[in-house]
């Protein structure tokens, strides 16, 4: 009999779910029948070798592929609570991007001031009130753990910040619009270990408010940061599960070969 009383974890709610998703670049089938859940307020990591399709899959969520010709979605990604299929042609990608933000591999602050960068998402929604924007910008910069470093130079150029600061600024920019989900595309691969550590710490904090989907080629990062992990190879999800299972006792040999470095 258990001697201590532990409350069972609440079963996680489903934030998004892809169903039989195929994706084509022209005639090349980059994603094959991907069906995978993304749980709310949890961090889900996508790992796999180069070219396995993890970034391609990530960029389906906010319709980034629509910017380039030759793309084709086949299948669906449903976003809760309204269960809308974000890939459907009747859904406006702009609306999708207002619900799902993205942070990129190379920090990409605009050549504008810190304030303007963070406020940009709100500006494109038509917010003009300076006081409203100030509050939101401050909240976002605090949530991104960079407020103390930039509070006295909000009007300075964002590109003058260090790499790690720039990436946290981009995270603040993504957070300012209070999105439902944030996509991280290898957010720390261009950063030094200390900046990487602070970003990982940050992801652990923001997941309480936002659902996180992160692509990383650093397995230890996936192990540290995520609650759920999917291993992908050649456009398919080979295995999906809770991170501790994937890293201690994976079900598929391919998964184990990859994470133990026997891949090749």
């Amino acid at each position: 009999m258990p001697t201590t009383l532990t409350l069972p974890d609440k079963p996680p709610a489903l934030k998004a779910e892809s169903r039989e998703l195929d994706f084509y670049y022209g005639s090349f089938k980059a994603l094959k029948r991907i069906s995978m859940p993304v749980y709310e307020n949890k961090v889900t990591a996508l790992i796999g070798p180069s070219g396995c399709g993890k970034s391609t899959y990530l960029r389906c969520f906010n319709r980034m592929h629509d910017l380039y010709p030759g793309h084709r979605y086949d299948g669906s990604i449903h976003l809760n609570p309204d269960h809308v299929d974000v890939l459907h042609r009747s859904v406006d990608p702009i609306e999708v991007r207002m619900r799902i933000s993205m942070v990129f591999q190379k920090p990409n602050p605009f050549p504008k001031s810190v304030f303007e960068n963070v406020a940009y998402g709100l500006k494109v929604r038509g917010e003009t009130s300076r006081s409203f924007l100030s509050d939101k910008v401050e909240a976002a910069l605090k949530a991104a753990a960079i407020w103390s470093e930039v509070s006295d130079r909000l009007d300075d150029l964002a590109v003058n910040l260090s790499g790690g600061q720039q990436q946290r600024l981009c995270i603040a920019r993504a957070l300012a619009t209070e999105p439902e989900m944030i996509l991280f595309d290898e957010p720390t691969s261009a950063l030094d270990p200390i900046a990487t550590g602070s970003i990982e710490e940050l992801i652990g904090e923001i997941k309480q408010k936002v659902t996180v989907l992160i692509v990383t080629h650093n397995m230890q990062q996936a192990a540290r940061v995520s609650d759920y992990t999917a291993y992908m190879y050649l456009g398919e999800v080979i295995e999906y599960g809770e991170t501790r299972d994937i890293f201690m006792k994976p079900k598929r040999k391919e998964t184990e070969d990859y994470i133990t470095g026997r891949f090749g």
Binding site: F247, M248, D257, T260, G261
Partner: protein, 235 residues
């Protein structure tokens, strides 16, 4: 440990540490065998040899632990590799205690000899030797199973531990009878009880080793479960 890592250095490190574990296992196995030989022959010299090995066993434990720490720090192992290293850490602790038991047996032999006990007393040394043979065989089988990461063999070892326990119980009853029959044998009999207990513990350590093997191969922690449950868990 059959598939190769991308890093051959990592492969070497793992196979080196496994080899050392088997070396240590062989050493403590021979210690136990030697200690039992010393008991059977009442040989103070052999007992002395067993004791002189103790420092080496302890040193091996420390060394292997240090190698383990270094591998974990450098390689950030996951899944099977991580389970292997964790299991080895526990295994060498068990082996070290087997060495301790062997040393205890040897010291008991020396005490018996010093107090003038000899083969003249009709002590059930043979029974103790029988129990010891079971335990040593168990240990050898467990080490074999470790070398081959053989789950089925490991389960046999676990099952065999029950036999060893039964033998111990039988021995206890016999020794109690001896003590009741001839009070002069009490001192020596109690010493034999200690020896029998030590051997029973050797069997337990072999069982622990087997449980670790199942953990490495299947990823399931089967400790503190009865044999039948283990067979199901290890499927």
């Amino acid at each position: 440990m059959t598939d190769k890592h991308l890093s051959t250095q990592f492969d070497h490190e793992l196979s080196d540490v496994s080899t050392h574990v088997l070396e240590m296992g062989g050493l403590v196995e021979s210690q136990v065998a030697q200690a039992m030989y010393a008991l059977a022959q009442f040989s103070s010299e052999t007992a002395g040899q067993v004791l002189s090995q103790e420092a080496r066993v302890n040193a091996m434990e420390v060394e292997i632990d240090r190698d383990l720490s270094m591998i974990i720090a450098r390689r950030q192992p996951t899944a099977r590799d991580l389970r292997l290293l964790i299991a080895i850490s526990k295994t060498i602790a068990n082996l070290e205690r087997v060495g301790d038991e062997a040393a205890r047996i040897a010291r008991t032999v020396q005490r018996l000899i010093n107090t003038g006990v000899s083969s003249r007393m009709r002590l059930p040394v043979g029974d103790v030797s029988f129990e010891a043979d079971l335990a040593i065989a168990s240990l050898r089988k467990a080490l074999d199973a470790f070398a081959r990461l053989d789950c089925d063999k490991a389960i046999e070892v676990i099952r065999q531990d029950n036999l060893i326990d039964q033998e111990f119980d039988g021995l206890m009853r016999k020794l109690i009878t001896y003590m009741m029959e001839d009070p002069r044998t009490i001192s020596a009999s109690i010493d034999l009880v200690f020896v029998a207990k030590a051997i029973e513990r050797v069997g337990d350590h072999a069982k622990n080793l087997a449980e670790q093997i199942i953990y490495i191969v299947k990823g399931t922690d089967v400790r503190h479960n009865p044999v039948e449950a283990i067979e199901t868990l290890a499927r």
